[in-house]
């Protein structure tokens, strides 16, 4: 009797263990499959781009055709300016509408906004570029960093909106009740308790939106336009890394092709670097006091 039972339980545990190992193996295989293309892209970029990255590349403006050397410093700076404007537009609007949807959006109006956000998310980026063109460029009568920032900012909004709403909805009712029960007003509860509880997730959403628009080229073609010179004036055309990469990549010159690879590498490094720094600061700040 005891023996039989013992044998049975051993059998079950053997098949369980086998199943367990099998699924672990499958999960690892899936993970590798996902990481493989990413690693391949990185390796390729590194191989082709690293050779052209030097001090001049990071500190000089582009050299005229035929003149060797020169760099993409103005494009790096320009991308920073445009992304700064985009973040300043996309983050407050995105978080604001996400908060609205989660706190007051359990109705038809909320559904309409949700649907709009999803549609906006699917609008081709070149179309967003045209919108920014008609909103800003036509009014200013020339291309500008501002127009580029507006285009990318609009593109950031839906991602941040939905991420904010979903993260806020994950905060249990009991946590909101705790705050309300202390006599804290509704909006203060939303800002200082609910938003704060879901800050990590919302920051992830912002980073996703940021990374997505940082590499956009199409919406910048007829907004920021590009430039060969230093500029930080938001009312003037400005260079941007993706634009510069695009122009160099379709040029007939080998030197420019190499610089395009280097530019792509720098772009990826800047995106990854920004995300890493923001995460570090966020994880440090999370436990600190409200003051």
């Amino acid at each position: 009797m005891r023996n039989k039972a013992g044998a049975r339980s051993e059998q079950i545990s053997w098949s369980r263990r086998f199943g367990d190992h099998l699924f672990t193996a499958l999960a690892v295989a899936a993970l590798l499959l996902v990481l493989l293309p990413l690693a391949a892209i990185f390796a390729d970029l590194l191989e082709r781009g690293i050779g052209s990255i030097n001090w001049a590349f990071l500190t000089r403006t582009p050299a005229p055709v035929g003149v060797p050397g020169g760099g993409m410093a103005n494009a790096i700076l320009g991308s920073g300016v445009i992304l700064g404007i985009a973040t300043a537009i996309g983050v407050p609007l995105g978080i604001g509408s996400g908060v609205f949807l989660s706190e007051y959006g359990r109705n038809r109006f909320g559904d309409v906004i949700r649907f709009t956000a999803d549609v906006l998310n699917g609008v081709p980026s070149i179309v967003i570029g045209i919108v920014a063109y008609s909103l800003v460029v036509l009014r200013q009568r020339h291309f500008s960093a501002l127009a580029g920032g507006v285009a990318l900012g609009i593109m950031m909004i839906p991602t941040i909106t939905r991420a904010t709403e979903e993260m806020l909805l994950l905060v249990p009712v009991s946590v909101r009740e705790a705050a309300l029960g202390l006599g804290i007003s509704r909006w203060r509860t939303t800002v200082s308790v609910t938003l704060r509880t879901s800050a990590a997730g919302i920051i992830t959403g912002i980073m996703l939106a940021f990374a997505r628009v940082a590499g956009e080229t199409a919406p910048l073609l007829f907004t920021a336009f590009g430039s060969q010179f230093w500029s930080t004036n938001i009312n003037q055309p400005i260079a941007a890394l993706p634009l510069q990469i695009f122009v160099y990549a379709i040029s007939p010159y080998d030197e420019w092709h190499r610089q395009a690879w280097a530019g792509a590498l720098v772009l990826i490094a800047l995106i990854v670097g920004t995300i890493a720094v923001v995460r570090l600061i966020a994880s440090r700040g999370m436990m600190k006091g409200t003051t």
Partner: protein
């Protein structure tokens, strides 16, 4: 100082279902009053009507009168936040703020209402944690550990400290010990004894020994009605209503 609570013809609804029917009760200041009754009879709903938490849920409705001290809880000119600052609440399940440190959890009610005096805050946080019998366990990690990193029993005491920090007149406790071990439960009962000197306490409990130990008065609820309200001793030894007797002798519920 604790203040008395007067409840008159109180009704409460969730959508179309009525959870409380015509409740009337006079709760004595500086005493503990226990609310007992079978699951789903409206105990939580009742205490949540006392500090206007019921109306925070969607599609709910309340009618009737509640007076706490001089304050008309459902008066036209009485803001809900004012009521809740004077009527502290400890919920059935511990609900610390997960993204805040232990210190900030306790200080939240004051800080988020604009209180800025740091030295005074430190004092209040320590005093509240001591009252809730949690100070010794957390004093070394006040600002390092998050409220969510504590054990269930510690979290509930943290929630009690958080409620005490805003210095309410009344403390509502909805089964504060239902998830706790006997030692933590004992600590909370001791705490209730101390708090009675300065607060009016309403405590919901499923545990009749607990009601008998801590409360001078007991109200028995059934299906949304207050069946009997009297001295605890009377409820447990000589109830006037047959249904109360059936419940406390364990014949149903």
């Amino acid at each position: 100082m604790g203040v008395g609570i007067e409840v008159e013809s109180l009704n409460a609804w969730f959508g179309a279902t009525q959870a409380l029917q015509d409740i009337g009760m006079r709760i004595a200041p500086n005493h503990a009053t226990a609310i007992i009754g079978p699951s789903g009879c409206g105990k939580s709903t009742f205490v949540r009507c006392l500090n206007r938490m019921h109306e925070t849920l969607p599609e709910t409705r309340v009618t009737g009168k509640v007076r706490i001290g001089e304050m008309e809880v459902y008066g036209d000119g009485t803001p809900a936040v004012l009521v809740r600052r004077q009527v502290g609440m400890v919920f059935q399940k511990p609900n610390p703020f997960p993204a805040m440190s232990i210190y900030d959890n306790v200080a939240a009610g004051l800080k988020l209402n604009g209180f800025r005096d740091r030295r005074k805050l430190d004092e209040i946080v320590e005093r509240s944690l001591r009252m809730a019998a949690l100070w010794d366990e957390v004093k070394d990690a006040l600002k390092k550990k998050s409220g969510a990193s504590l054990s269930g029993g510690q979290q509930q005491r943290l929630c009690i400290a958080r409620a005490l920090a805003v210095e309410p007149n009344v403390l509502l406790m909805d089964e504060p010990a239902s998830a706790l071990d006997p030692i933590s439960t004992g600590k909370i009962e001791d705490l209730i004894f101390q708090l009675k000197e300065n607060y009016t306490i309403v405590i919901v409990t499923h545990n009749m020994q607990q009601a008998a130990r801590v409360a001078e008065f007991t109200g028995f609820f059934l299906l949304g009605r207050l069946i009997e309200f009297a001295k605890t001793e009377k409820i447990f030894t000589n109830p006037s209503d047959k249904r109360t007797e059936d419940y406390i002798t364990g014949r149903f519920g």
